[in-house]
Subunit: 380 residues, 2 copies
């Protein structure tokens, strides 16, 4: 096991009716900027619950944080926050709203252009923020990360800030989600876990078990959940799995990959494909490309998550990759570049971008522009 | 899944050489009371590392916190802390030292007898405390709980305070532990997990998987670790498992039992038996007594942790209980009351105590004095 430092101070408030806790969790004297995405929270009752809970607080609302939040939109929220001298932020929505609000919380305390903070990769100082989660997927409700896009330059980068002070997760808020979003949320969670897990076996036996535990849970609930999105028990498992999938709990003392995400971000930036939708295409291609290097872990994964025990090492590794891709397809998601209209020119552009940035992703830092091109070729 | 609120702010600093981080984790202006158990930290190098790291701090040392720390000893430390106006505590040792230091941290800010706080069950206010862990077992390094004894009245009660601000876990500090202590630490961890797990299945599929993940890890490492206590990788798994076994990470949204602990505490109070040593006796007896009620979870546990798939439900439940007891015996621990010299008079005394306190332990609050007597009869 590698040396590590772990801390996750976010207070997780989980369950039916818990949005009412907002009133006691936000300090009484705060001026709150509440941020939203589109209008879905107005039709599913979440907006009403939040508004009721915040009676008595000074509240400013900002609407319209889009999927893959853009710095252009967030700059408007930063201006609104500065103007109203807010000193607490409450994100109400999915990962995009929470991610965007992390940049707003830092941007309000920063004099220059908020894009500087994204390029720097790290917030200097930040206002406290909290979240009411309505779409399980990114884990942003219990981590310090965010991913911000810039329309002007068609770029998308990760940025680190502070954890939410608290996050409220009521699984019943997810009942009205479109099935496609549930499918993408499950896929996103699955791949977050794989990024932290699919390296080499037994760096930590315990972390391996916990990562596998999330994957096993997702595999178990997926066939029902995409048909029965108003099942509280199932949505609870999904919501808890998504949060636990990217809050550091399965990352202690182990190396991580994240190349799938880095390549996926480019596909979103260039083609506007949903985050989860890019990941389910890239990961099987990455595993096909790096099969030899990752064989030992693929065999463990295949056996423990998919029950694959027969065949040669190579056959079992292949089966594990096939099972992974089939799982994504069973969610109704496309898993090949051709299906989403991405062709060779994009592959060339991503190689060019990575080579220019001289990147080296993956647990060994060896996923260069050239290797990324091979991976994308294996996603055709 | 039940509604829950989870928060665990402890910073976990894990790995070889990490004790040196003390210097930057404790605020510079603090007057530190450092607490110890016996002298083992002087022979294994931990004391030297702590002393070196704390150069430049104002430090007061308190030695002699015993196993099952007594309020009588802790009162002396509280007096020393008050006298020296300390405002930060550092516990260096195992669960007993950390538990005891939690009471010291509360007692220094309390004017009356510290035993009042134990009876109240909850600290009112407390100084910040941190820990350097040398004996994995109790999880005290990353939770708010403590168990305190009182020699005068032969009592032992749980008490809740605050989490350590940070805890440093260097697996190499455990290399010199006696094998019996390693065995008890593994058993203690195993039973902490069972207390949070062995109720009913699928309250949370994910929490079930994570609890099973710790149990599987312990079962996997136990045969080697008790022979090879200087194996860094194995001790890392043990140390991380012990911490994760009782820090709330596997307790989200699920009911818990804890009757084994409540009965075990009485055996320690009355006979001075090591904590882990009492648990491995009581738990198999509890499972034999409550087999019918817990059948569904016993079957899941038997299959996932022990690979038991053949036989009727009752046969598989019996096998799961037998496997559990055999596991404890494989660690070299006694699993029957007769082996540790406990007879009928103790069983009667525990029934009397519980009936007098009108307790109801277990996930349904139905483990009364009378049921506890049945459980202890099944431990003979």
């Amino acid at each position: 096991m590698e040396n590590f430092i772990f801390q996750n101070p976010t207070k997780l408030i989980f369950g039916k009716g818990m949005i009412a806790n907002l009133a006691k969790e936000i300090p009484q004297d705060k001026r709150v900027l509440v941020t939203f995405g589109g209008g879905s929270v107005k039709t599913n009752g979440v907006y009403e619950q939040v508004k009721t809970a915040l009676q008595g607080f000074e509240v400013v609302e900002f609407w319209g944080i889009e999927s893959n939040p853009s710095v252009e939109t967030l700059q408007k929220a930063i201006a609104l926050g500065k103007e109203n001298k807010v000193d607490f932020l409450l994100a109400v929505g999915g990962g995009s709203v929470i991610d965007g609000t992390k940049l707003i919380a830092a941007g309000i305390l920063y004099d220059g252009d908020a894009w500087d903070l994204v390029l720097k990769g790290q917030a200097i100082d930040t206002l406290p923020l909290a979240a009411v989660l309505t779409l399980p997927a990114t884990g942003s409700e219990m981590n310090a990360g965010a991913v911000i896009s810039r329309k002007e330059t068609v770029e998308k980068f990760a940025f680190f800030s502070k954890n939410p002070v608290f996050s409220i997760l009521d699984p019943s808020t997810t009942f009205t989600l479109p099935k496609y979003q549930v499918a993408c949320g499950i896929a996103d969670t699955y791949i977050h876990v794989m990024e932290q897990y699919m390296t080499t076996p037994n760096q930590s036996k315990l972390m391996d078990r916990w990562a596998e535990g999330i994957l096993q849970t997702l595999v178990e609930i997926a066939p029902s959940i995409t048909k029965d999105t108003e099942n509280y028990a199932l949505m609870s498992e999904f919501m808890l799995s998504a949060t636990m999938g990217l809050n550091g709990f399965i990352a202690m003392g182990v190396r991580q990959d994240w190349a799938t995400h880095m390549i996926g971000h480019e596909l979103t930036a260039l083609h506007g494909i949903t985050h989860g939708g890019t990941l389910v295409i890239v990961m099987p291609g990455l595993l096909r490309t790096l099969k030899t290097k990752k064989t030992a872990k693929l065999l463990q994964y295949g056996e423990r998550v998919w029950g694959i025990t027969a065949g040669s090492d190579e056959e079992r590794a292949d089966q594990a990759i096939e099972k992974t891709e089939s799982f994504f397809r069973s969610l109704g998601l496309a898993t090949r570049l051709g299906e989403v209209g991405v062709g060779d020119e994009t592959i060339v552009e991503i190689e060019r971008r990575f080579n220019k940035r001289k990147v080296g992703f993956g647990e060994d830092g060896d996923i260069t522009g050239t290797v990324s091109r091979q991976i994308l070729e294996n996603c055709k």
